[in-house]
Symmetry: C2
Subunit: 493 residues, 2 copies
Amino acid sequence: MWGGWLFCLAWVGDFGRAQSIFAPLRLHEASRPDPSRLLGLHAYRTCCITQKIDHFGFAENRTFKQRYLLADQHWKKGVGSILFYTGNEGDISWFANNTGFMWNVAEELGAILVFAEHRYYGESLPFGNKSYTDAKHLNYLTSEQALADFAILIQHLKNTIPGAQNTPVIAIGGSYGGMLAAWFRMKYPHIVIGALAASAPIWQFDSLVPCGSFYKIVTEDFRKGGLGCSETIRNSWAAIKRIAGTEKGLQWLSHTFHLCSPLKTTTDVINFKELLREAWIYLAMVDYPYEAAFLQPLPAWPVKVICKYLKNPKLPDRLLLQNIFQAVNIYYNYTGKASCLNLTQTATKSLGLRGWSYQACTEMVMPMCSDGINDMFEPQKWDLHSYSEDCFKTWGVRPRPYWIPTIYGGKNISAHSNIIFSNGGLDPWSGGGVTKNITDTLVTIMIPEGAHHLDLRANNPSDPISVLQARLLEVHYMKLWLQKQKRVKKCPK
Amino acid sequence: MWGGWLFCLAWVGDFGRAQSIFAPLRLHEASRPDPSRLLGLHAYRTCCITQKIDHFGFAENRTFKQRYLLADQHWKKGVGSILFYTGNEGDISWFANNTGFMWNVAEELGAILVFAEHRYYGESLPFGNKSYTDAKHLNYLTSEQALADFAILIQHLKNTIPGAQNTPVIAIGGSYGGMLAAWFRMKYPHIVIGALAASAPIWQFDSLVPCGSFYKIVTEDFRKGGLGCSETIRNSWAAIKRIAGTEKGLQWLSHTFHLCSPLKTTTDVINFKELLREAWIYLAMVDYPYEAAFLQPLPAWPVKVICKYLKNPKLPDRLLLQNIFQAVNIYYNYTGKASCLNLTQTATKSLGLRGWSYQACTEMVMPMCSDGINDMFEPQKWDLHSYSEDCFKTWGVRPRPYWIPTIYGGKNISAHSNIIFSNGGLDPWSGGGVTKNITDTLVTIMIPEGAHHLDLRANNPSDPISVLQARLLEVHYMKLWLQKQKRVKKCPK
């Protein structure tokens, strides 16, 4: 079962190998919303709002239904707030159920929770099942349109929920949703009084940060995961190359890795290596301190668990790769239910991935590279030209890598205010994140033991102190904004 | 000769009578750029930059040439600034030649002057002479696209003018250009350190201000212009109605007002009254203290001059209307060269007006109304429904009156900084402008004796003290921003 996706770009069939930034994130069935969680205190209503397909032009005047989830059982009318999740690239119910932080703080902040689905994802499809037909239909899949949807939705909520007219709104999001939260505050400060941007790599664009930082952090995670671990993975690529050179070797690989269909072509081998790379990247991203099923069901501290199999980088090829299989099997088959590993079951079947692939081919161009020295991956240069060619072949559009820094300010964002940028020290995306305070009101929170937006997840007994502190600080800042807002209302200038 | 236009909406043929907000502004030949002014200290180069037709979508990847004017003879490399005129609805050379303020302060601020033409105006036509063909071609005529053009242009200038990389930029504009300057600072604070928004009615939208304020201020100007003046104009409408009721009366009107072609139909009479209304509105807007030819060649304090003919509101119809002719003749024929007054020579021939008409039918919906009691005009309610119908008939689009407050914040703009809102007390647009300080860095400057952005005009011996003070303050604030920018650079946090 394939579902929601999170930062799951550019890996579409053959294309984007060198550009493959985010391998597909596979949402396991176990992480789908459990109806029992939606009862009582965690209950929400599913609602819809009519939105213009194009906020920025007038020739296209048609509308579509945007889905959002609403939970107002904790709302304290008159004193409370609205916590607004700026939905990212996937089914919004998945985000609602993986953002326990908002549910945990709802009562303390007397908050209405709103989870807004991002257009072109989940059920919010501007042209129904034709939404992904071609570049013309995809033309309205941009961050700007998504932010405008959010603005219209908030105005609608304030106008229609009795007593909510003057309720202050705080934007919250993680990953791409975190970028949207930050950008929302930057562009619509009249609509949200502040934003919590968790694990939001708003600087992973153009040449704002070195393209190698992402893979370097992944590698560092595995280096810390156990002696020999990252080295073993680094050596595995050459081992695969040597073994995949013969037909017998291909057979051996297919058998050893329990592949559902045997490796035959060069493309198969590329896809196979992609599968491995995907596993390492996502293990680093979801290296949470407890058993979780965010992307796949995984044990606590999965990188450490996996590294137990990868202690000896000097083994002969076949022994080394057998260990790699043991390790990767934890990622793809922790439950032990899969009878084989499916290479072709790629993410292209997921609307979420397709949407992100398009976004990565237009605005969300995040240069990535590896050199095999500072990281454990095969060397891959950032090649905008071939990236652009691939985008044009796949979607009929060309990326504009300069655009995000132009419209959202790049590193020059100090004129804005009331944004918390939180980052996990283990999270590869922290390399493109804001990790140093910019002003008194553009603040950062580092969670050294945190993976990808751990702070947005529900409280857990295994949480490291750093994430508990982060959540306390986040609530502290939100309360500050709310208090300031109240003061402004009581004593207008 | 018909040329540039300034706030010249919605009056297209029959349509928009009730909605006619801005009558066409007729740019007289005398106000066209005089080549001799462009020499020496006032010289500029005409340049072009390639811009994406659509910054906010990727299906349309074509480009067009945007024109801008560049004057760098006053630039002090290393310490100077860039003053950037955010071009509005007309030929940019006209604005360059009517914004003497920028030329006057260029040396003091060591500034490069840039005047950027607004897309779809002047020579900056995205689809050449097909730009106005239909709603599809007009789809990229929005304030957001114009701001994006400006952002791209500034980045281009900084990247290509040697030594300009770190030069701080200040946005300056008047009227709609003033709105663009303010909105530019709000949305792109990483690109401009501040903005001077002169006579920018950013609140003349939705129901942010009463729809009657505009005509009330026009009326007040004529009331102050001389005893009986506004009352005479108020009485003229009924007089016209009475006289236009007979064929003989129509002949008399046509003859008395020296019309080029005689009044015959009801539409003719409507157009005739429109011509009068247009004269009164623009006289109020350009009530400058010296002879000027901003829209039409006019004497100093033209409202006072005209009011000399309008002292007796109680005269019989024909005598009263003869006086009205004397008055309006000052506006349309101050030079005395016109042999007759042409009703059909409407502004629809001007690209500038057509563009503004489209903008007024999409984003720039500025509700206007008159009641004949608090103002001297015929009662006209604001009727969005018929406005929308007319827009659809004319352009195939429907207005979205909520959009400008949604995207630019309406009255809730206190999160922004470094914007000067200047307003003239005589200017009817001041009713929709920001006339009270919002924060320490969102400041207003009132010029009681000022008409429409008098402060942006060149120094003149007849300038009232209030406008001299305004210009001093404006330069003072700009220097503050520049100094702060320098401090930030020297001592980064």
